[in-house]
């Protein structure tokens, strides 16, 4: 890859994406071949907000490449609490590690941090901004199950605040996917995402209910509607309830519909779907490790 850092999915071309996914497929097929590739390499984990899974997934990926991690620990116990700037923290951790992974509550944090360090930096989520490795593992899962060409995908749930959705939708424009956005009126795509999609030449098709588009879909990507977005509990239940799917909902779907979800889920996908061939969300979560291995391998390769 030509990039030193991975900050947003928007920076990735179709070619970049295919390179990472191909490498991830190689990792998947023969993990042992990658087991010693980065022995002695240290990955610095800077998580300014808790995200156990993403952190574990990066940790597992680095260790499976033969390297190790150094972890700045929880924000409560770190110098951040003493008021150190993010710019200073990453410059200090850069001195310990060969690459950095950053999770931060503020948007644009990874972009800013990357301007202060020379080692590769991977954005593992910056507030409501970007989470590009999630997008890569989503794309990997989609490619394995439905292919990325001639794809018709429905993206449903909280499209306003869901950063995974924003990155995925933008990345999919590289493949000319036909995208349908399904959400309550109050949680529609934000202006900046429409702008990106528009610029990329995509048509934004928006729906308030799934029924109309479900039969055409190859992939249904479901996200959680967050309770804290609603001041009124009853309003939350009324809206969230309309965006839950169960076995009956899927009667109208194609037999080979792939159902995805970035997890954790609450009740937007009924457990009865878990045992069907539609369910791919656990596979999707597992794919985080080979995809992150592939990405780290490529970013660190440029280094040596």
């Amino acid at each position: 890859m030509r990039h030193d850092h991975l900050l947003t999915a928007n920076q990735l071309t179709r070619e970049d994406i295919e390179l990472v996914l191909d490498r991830a497929a190689e990792v998947d097929a023969n993990p042992a071949a990658f087991g010693k590739r980065h022995a002695g390499t240290l990955l610095g984990l800077c998580f300014f907000e808790p995200s156990t899974r993403t952190k574990m997934s990066f940790e597992a990926a680095m260790k499976r490449l033969g390297g190790d991690v150094v972890d700045m620990g929880s924000v409560d116990s770190s110098s951040v609490k003493k008021g150190e700037s993010l710019a200073d923290t990453v410059r200090v951790v850069e001195g310990y590690a060969d690459a950095l992974v950053l999770r931060h509550p503020l948007m644009g944090a990874a972009k800013m941090a990357s301007e202060f360090v020379d080692v590769p930096l991977v954005n593992a989520g910056d507030g409501a901004g970007h989470h590009p490795t999630q997008t890569l593992l989503d794309l990997y899962t989609i490619r394995e199950n439905a292919g990325l060409d001639d794809l018709t995908i429905g993206i449903m749930g909280d499209l306003k605040y869901g950063r995974t959705v924003h990155s995925l939708a933008t990345a999919l424009t590289n493949f000319g996917a036909s995208q349908h956005f399904v959400s309550p009126e109050s949680l529609k795509l934000p202006r900046s995402v429409r702008y990106d999609l528009h610029e990329a030449g995509a048509t934004v098709r928006e729906h308030t209910d799934l029924e109309a588009v479900l039969p055409q879909l190859d992939v249904l990507y479901v996200t959680r509607i967050q309770r804290e977005r609603f001041p009124d509990e009853n309003e939350y239940h009324r809206i969230a309830g309309e965006y839950q799917i169960d076995a009956e909902t899927l009667d109208a779907a194609k037999d080979d519909l792939t159902v995805m979800h970035p997890l954790p889920r609450v009740d937007e996908i009924a457990p009865e779907i878990d045992d069907t061939d539609h369910a791919r969300y656990f596979e999707q979560a597992h794919n985080g490790v080979p995809v992150r291995m592939a990405l780290l391998d490529m970013l660190l390769e440029g280094d040596s």
Binding site: S85, L86, L106, M107, G108, M112, A128, R191, S192
Partner: protein
């Protein structure tokens, strides 16, 4: 029109910059963008809502003793896209520029997104990409379309 009005409008400056064809009502924002608040001792003359051939009404800003840099002119383009910049030396216009929209503006606007890293206490200047019809924060992606001048960083 009385002679005094006319004199105010056309009064010449000896050395400095005349910014003409500013959209009506934007003159004070032009000064804000240039960081001119009088404390620097510059002599400034402003004409507001002056009748214009090309714009319905226009504002004119004349700054004595100061020639604008290209950076300043670039930023002006965001709120005064039709402005002409006249550099005056010895009462003569020696250079005339049209403003050109820059690709980015740095350190001039503040980001309205309170969850943007540029609003945290970090050693970073704001940076906005200039779009066809607005600007966009390079850090958080927030787009500003309306009333860009109200986002001019005043500290």
């Amino acid at each position: 029109m009385s002679d005094t009005d006319k004199q105010l409008r056309v009064s010449k400056i000896e050395n400095g910059t005349v910014i003409d064809h500013v959209h009506g009502g934007q003159a004070l924002n032009v000064l804000a963008i240039l960081g001119i608040d009088g404390s620097g001792g510059e002599q400034v003359a402003i004409g507001m809502n002056v009748p214009s051939d090309t714009l319905a009404t226009k504002d004119i800003v004349k700054v004595e003793g100061r020639e604008l840099s290209q950076d300043e002119v670039d930023v002006l383009s965001l709120i005064a896209p039709d402005a002409t910049i006249n550099i005056v030396r010895d009462y003569e216009v020696v250079e005339k520029h049209r403003v050109d929209r820059p690709g980015t503006v740095t350190g001039v606007l503040s980001c309205p997104n309170r969850n943007c890293i540029t609003n945290a206490d970090e050693p970073v200047e704001t940076r906005f990409d200039v779009l066809r019809d607005g600007v966009r924060c390079e850090f958080c992606g927030q787009i500003i379309r309306e009333d860009i001048a109200s986002h001019i960083d005043d500290d």
